[in-house]
Amino acid sequence: MTTTNGSNEAIPTLQLLDPEGRRVTTRGTKGYRDRAAALTAEDLRGMYRDMVLTRRFDDEATSLQRQGELALYAPSRGQEAAQVGSAYALRPQDFVFPSYREHGVLQVRGVDTVDRLRFFRGSDHGGWNPNEHNAQVYTVVIGAHTLHAVGYAMGVQRDGTPHDATDGTAVITYFGDGATSQGDVNEAMVYATVNQAPVVFFLQNNQWAISEPTTRQTRTPLYRRGEAFGMPSLRVDGNDVLAVYAATQEAMERARRGEGPSFIEAFTYRMGAHTTSDDPTRYRTTDQEEVWRRRDPIDRLAALLRAEKELDDDYVAEVQQSADELGVRLRAGVRALDGGAPVSTFEDVYATPHGVVASERAWYEAYEAGDPPADQYAIAETAQGGAR
């Protein structure tokens, strides 16, 4: 398949499943087709299920924001194949550094649905323990986490983990087309290639950085950025869950074998708004949205499974039932999040006692108790002394 960007340049793009859900057998893709063929029907149904649940999570979260229950939400609609497909290629020991829209990755990673909305609720700056799921919390400063991913991968190198496609450890970091313009992302690619760190740069090119089209970020196809830094780079149809899975698995195995970083551009489309605060009608056409609606990644996988007689109405109903349960649990769970007591603001600022935080907390607690001390710094001094 070739697709075009604003320059009408034909760009080689790996596709294993066409928009109608038919397997594609292009020359030169046998290695990827073999990887996709190794997925069992059960695997594919699992992917379908996780994509549907991610879509439902998205709809529920958007509704919760509209009801005033979330401060903000960044929908992933349209990017389910890129996220679920790549996450299926990860192993438990691998570590994920997401941006803030990777709800499908976290779905596969097993991060609790309510925990995933703590950040957007405004009750947490993170929401889960990164070490429980080998998945870092969301990072909002664009591209900053890609350096953390490379550093983590440099640590993996120093740990002496086995150089093995299965038992080795690799890191994957997710970012968007806008992020490719950030200095940190470019520095991350320098550090990754110079050190041959076991990390995969997974770009979801959803074509929009809020209101700015990809043409405001680049004149060249973005996968070529990876090439320029000196790592294997590939563009895949980001709405084709099989191509995404196969490409990511290849790159992760390369990293686990100790053969260095890779770059994947998953070419996809942000079907929804940037966030619930955004208004895409101001900068893009409904015609374009309609074109991409016809390339819906979930419909595509469902068509494949139907054609191969691996998806019946019972299973669809079962997934629907799970989605309904997800919605019920999510709505109740989110409404129950309150961020804890106000004094919790003072917790975990430092890992060891810090005199300023200790004194301000002591004063605040006295103030809250209706007993504001006449001499703020007397209590401050005591607390500070106690902290030492």
Binding site: A144, L147, V150, R158, D184, D348, V349, Y377, E381
Partner: protein
């Protein structure tokens, strides 16, 4: 808590004793001791390998510990700190060298939005014990960006500890305590004092006492001079000059700007009644403003005069030809003390 004696015995079997070292060499020895003690400690920075850093602070460390633990990084400061965050998440204790104060700003975002907040963002699940070493301050006749004092910018960010040694002994002990600390530490090294010599007890106990405890380096009764890093020497020289005038100055070495050991300062000022703060950084929104506010609130009825500040001006750090007029000198501190006594 491990004493240096215990640490040394594991490697050489005998106490290391006391040596006369420059401040720069004391940091070097502190880094070496920390790396011998914990194999997760690693150094990252530009030109820190075979060259030993532009100030030779890492001299000989790559030869001893190898390229995996003493890493010559690409020339990108955000990358140094950003990858250090990831390494810390994987269990390492990276010590980053920023070549000069003025070059920390490409890493400012990583330090303030990521390094400082990671522990809080994860509600304590993740620790990022990263040390960022920054040679800072002026007086060495350098070109632009090589003489600045940006410590207040970091002290204003919760989640960071900001410290600065003034003596070889403190440099040796504090760098080890900074590395052992579970929190990120901005370690400001007074580059103008790198060649100053002092006795260093290499068996000194390494706990956490120097990271948030000021110390009275000279006792006095008439005025308290508060300083840290390179300005402690200026304060001591001022105290000498005052002694000749028959005035007794107490000198407090703050050691840390965050946290700030207000208690030690307040205890001193309650006795002396006068306080002058000295630092090379601009006084406008500088650490001295914080000290002045806290001392005023806490010592209001003990004060004979307003708290005064001596430091840099609200200008870019000047050209080298003019830096000695800009830096807080003994004369300017004496002028401030005179003003304090005139009240």
């Amino acid at each position: 808590m491990t004493t240096m004696a215990e640490r040394t015995q594991t490697t050489s079997g005998a106490p290391a004793g006391t040596r006369t070292l420059t401040l720069g060499k004391a940091v070097n020895e502190g880094l070496r001791a920390a790396m011998r003690h914990d194999d997760k400690v690693m150094l990252m920075g530009e030109d820190i390998g075979p060259l030993g850093g532009v100030f030779r602070v890492t001299d000989g460390l790559q030869a001893e510990f190898g390229e995996e633990r003493v890493v010559d990084t690409p020339l990108a400061e955000s990358g140094i700190v950003g990858t250090a965050v990831g390494l810390a998440m994987r269990g390492y204790r990276p010590v980053c060298e920023i070549q000069f104060d003025g070059f920390v700003f490409p890493a400012f975002n990583q330090i303030t939005t990521q390094l400082a907040k990671m522990h809080n963002r994860t509600r304590g699940a993740v620790q990022v014990p990263v040390v960022v070493r920054i040679p800072y301050g002026g007086g060495i006749g350098a070109v632009e960006h090589h003489s600045e004092s940006p410590e207040a910018l970091f002290a204003h960010t919760a989640g960071l500890r900001v410290v600065s040694p003034s003596t070889p002994q403190d440099a040796y002990t504090m760098i080890q305590e900074a590395i052992a600390c579970p929190d990120p530490v901005l370690f400001f090294e007074p580059k103008g004092r790198y060649w100053a010599k002092g006795e260093v007890d290499l068996d000194a106990e390494v706990g956490s006492s120097t990271l948030d405890a000021a110390r009275v380096v000279r006792a006095g009764t008439d005025v308290t001079l508060v300083a840290y890093g390179p300005s402690v020497e200026t304060a001591l020289k001022t105290a000498d000059a005052l002694a000749q005038e028959g005035r007794s100055a107490e000198v407090v070495d703050l050691r840390a700007v965050s946290p700030m050991d207000t208690a030690t300062v307040v205890t001193s000022v309650r006795r002396t009644g006068r306080c002058v703060v000295i630092h090379e950084a601009p006084v406008f929104f500088g650490a001295g403003a914080e000290i002045a506010a806290r001392v005023t609130e806490e010592c209001f009825y003990a004060l004979e005069a307003p708290v005064l500040r001596v430091g840099g001006f609200h200008t870019p750090y000047p050209v080298a030809k003019h830096e000695h007029d800009y830096l807080p000198s003994v004369d300017r501190v004496l002028d401030a003390v005179d003003r304090a006594f005139a009240h």
